[in-house]
Amino acid sequence: MTEPLLSVENLKTQFFTEDGTVRAVDGISFDVHEGEIVGLVGESGAGKSVATSSILRLVESPGEVVDGEITFKGETLFGLEEGPDGEPQPSEEMLSEEEMRDDIRGNEIAIIFQDPMESLNPVFTVGGQLREFIELNRDLSTKEAEQEAIDMLREVGIPDPENRYDEYPHQFSGGMRQRVLIAMALACQPDLIIADEPTTALDVTVEGQILELVEELQEKYGTAFIWVTHDMSVVAEICDRVNVMYLGEIIEQADVDDLFYDTKHPYTQALLDSMPRPDETVEELNPIKGVMPEAINPPSGCRFHSRCPEAREVCTRVHPEPRTVAEGAVADADAPTEAAVADAATDDGERPHTVACVKYDAFDVGYDSSEPLETEATGGFSAGLTDTGGEADD
């Protein structure tokens, strides 16, 4: 497999607040390859948006990227090295703020924000804003940029773009504004677009239209996407590969089909159970129990254990790092138990399906012999555990 377009290694972003340090993103790693749509999924507060701002180095005070390495097309967007005093300092290869601004933001990595109503400046015309960003990020004259803006508006399905060019954002509907933002991102011809919950604020029919548009344009332009969402059905519709985040960590990472048909992490399973699926008939939807704990004081061990239907005593003690686990090691005891691959990235052939859950043998921390735990999800019964029963014996 070729070099990834974007590679994020062990990224940590923290917010230093009065009440303490919030570890909003706590050591996540993932890759984005050319032309693919990579999902970043999780409930609100999981750290998805912070992760994407970190990539562009746009985390605002009191937040700060404190560790990790981000490389994009061979350039180091963020990297640390040990300074003379032993303290980590920005590495030599790391791009300066000016280089980030002039060479990366917009022209290499563009972003589409969640709220189309607020993202456009209310006192400038839609066309003017488009033109400004195009001019800034591509070598075009004002005239050419204007033409490009109009063409792009047409491309994203805005009728009568010549006239709408001179209108103000408040004259556009929410869906139309989101189309404008998509046009803005594409018009800068980046290699990667970060879409931060771009359809969350829209109603379902408009959401469908926008997703269709993105798929169509993505095929045409071949741009890679990071698609941030909390909605598994959106993931199913457009993503190639998915990263599931919980409390600042990626707890499962897989190609989209594997994620849906070979779900490994109980949290992912819970997310899937909470959404309607066209491919499966379920009696009733099963929302995730409880609320996500605050990132300022995450639970010990596995962060999901407080809401996990399969939690056992060991889960409160052992913090699992994502790794590949043997095929069907849990679900099916008869399946041949392959030797668990301890390390994730094997860059040849299939991309790995990694998961951070100690119930898999690969972790070997004594899950099976551990006492079941009463959690919010088990509701005082250990019924949830027996359902999945039949774990492989050692």
């Binding site: 746009l58 980030m100 601004r101 933001r105 993202s119 400046n121 006192v123 015309t125 800034l136």
Partner: protein, 331 residues
Amino acid sequence: MSLLRYSAWRVTQALPVLVGIIAITFFLANQIPGDPVEIMLGPTPAQEQVEAIQAKYGLDRPAHERFITYLTGVATGDLGTSIYYDRPVLEMIILRLPVTLVLMLSAFAFAIITAIPLGVISAKRRNEPADHVSRIVSLIGVSTPSFWIGLVLIIVFAFHLGWFPARGLVLPWADPADVRGAATRFEVLRQAAHHLFLPMIALGTLQMAQITRIERSSMVDSLQGEYVKLARAYGVPESTIVRKHAFQVAQLPVITIVGLGLSTALGGAVLTETVFEIQGMGRLIITAINNQDYELIMGTTFMFGVAYVVGVIITDIAYAYLDPRVTYGDE
């Protein structure tokens, strides 16, 4: 609706308010104790003299009749006659209004020119020393009586240092022949600026402080706007973001506060004119009151109302011009 039609609509909308102002001033003027005739003629006038005066000023007729007469008078540009000056009220106002307008305009110019940079810097460097200084300055500014600032300025800059004159005003368009010590237009202008400086600061400080406060909070909001995040994400330099993207949105509340500040500033003009002995509208109304000059009191109060209404209309139109979301009132 075009901006022009919006302006026209806005003006007609203000007409009932103007009638209301006349009604209030008329009502108040009629409550004034004491007899203007007595003031004119002394304590023991002859009966026929009294009647003649009463007839001349229409004082013998019932109040509602006089109100209608007054209203029609105002509509035709006749604000009555000043008993004290024995001249038409309108003439006195035309004489004094420019003085007050020059004072007001310079005060607002001073306020806006100093407040906007202060507020923007304050917002951009939030909780840094520059912000603290700017916030303390504006806090003191909104808490200080303008006439006291005037007194202190006179003591320090006129009496002690002798840099500026302590009293009076020279209109920039005055005839050089009428201005003492000025032979040329340039010298008139220089004197005008010289005289204007202290009153301008005295009157403008409160406005400056208020605009700084609103500019700061408005810029703070604006700088946190999603559109600013978007601009950053598209590589727009921070200076452009502050100057253009965040700034323009942030000016809308500032315009509103400037409009509201007109009321305070017009009141403040009365005090400032008193402190600096400037013969403007403020002194005119005080003179009118001290001499129980009915029609002059009504006329000047009305003009103050008109000045405020016109100011608010101008700020409204400015708002409509700058904010594309204003629907120009047609629904």
